[in-house]
Amino acid sequence: MTPDELYDRYGEMMYRYLALRLGSPEDAEDVLQEAFCRLARYSARWALVRDPKAFVFKVLRNEANRHLARRIKRREGDRTNAERNPRLEGVVEAPADASASLLARALGELPDEQREVIVLKVFQDFSFKETAAVCGISLNTAASRYRYGIEKLRSLLEGKA
């Protein structure tokens, strides 16, 4: 698969995943570029990859994690949860109503591991099996993180509504 084909097939999905995980369109672009550089380096062995989607998202996830680690290191002095969690209002189109805006904010306030599973499941249409493979966790862990995340979203929405 050439980088062009790779981008046409997964580029948009990858960008959405990164935007929702990092909460910044600029960071998402940078990390997407880094991930593509890594994938381009592997293009000669692409035929060996059995599940391209899982492989691409695993590379992407690792790159996003590296970026987040660098970001946390840069902001080492400032350890407030609000700073560490992304503000998703920047990556979501201007919500039509207040509840959508609240939902975007609540999604940003979720713990990273729960938000990641929800992003993969809801926004990328990944199955639990695919999500587990990408995140390197068991199927049960993926399902329970998703459930806890949804539960927390509901309570955040109800608490703020």
């Binding site: 960008y15 570029q33 381009a40 979501v92 929405l157």
Partner: protein, 150 residues
């Protein structure tokens, strides 16, 4: 939380419209990836050709060496049969011949005799008489021929 509530949250999440990637991102990303790949490659096309040439030369050298080694080994085996005992037995024939003739035998004939005897013995066909007979015949025929030529 009931499944309905879970589905409701899912539906609301799906209704969130995400901002699309800015135009030109595809070109920027692919250009960067192509540049990175080019820079990351430690070989140039010229170096790749050189490496391929070296590999071909190495393969040819190995093949020739193996062939020569095999040939040399078979020659040694034919002469010595790898066993001093065989060689001694072959040399006996020459000694016998020299005794019979009462004079030293031509070295070329001795070597030939040794080789023939060695090969026959190795093949399990120990026919010393036959070898000796043939050798004698050759010695006398050869000397007769030489005399005739004079």
């Amino acid at each position: 939380m009931t499944p309905e509530e879970e589905r409701d949250i899912e539906r609301r999440l799906r209704s969130l419209a995400l901002r699309p990637a800015r135009p030109g991102l595809r070109e920027k990303v692919l250009e960067a990836a192509a540049k990175y790949k080019k820079e990351a490659a430690w070989t140039t096309p010229r170096l790749r050709w050189c490496l391929a040439g070296c590999m071909a030369v190495l393969v040819v050298v190995f093949v020739i060496d193996a062939g020569l080694g095999r040939k040399q080994q078979s020659r040694l085996q034919a002469l010595m049969d790898g066993s001093p005992r065989m060689h001694d037995r072959a040399a006996d024939e020459s000694r016998v011949l020299a005794e019979v003739l009462g004079e030293p035998v031509d070295r070329k004939l001795v070597a030939r005799n040794e080789r023939i005897a060695s090969e026959e013995m190795r093949a399990g066909q120990v026919r010393r008489e036959k070898v000796l007979r043939e050798l004698l015949k050759e010695v006398f025929d050869g000397s007769e021929g030489a005399e005739n030529n004079h």
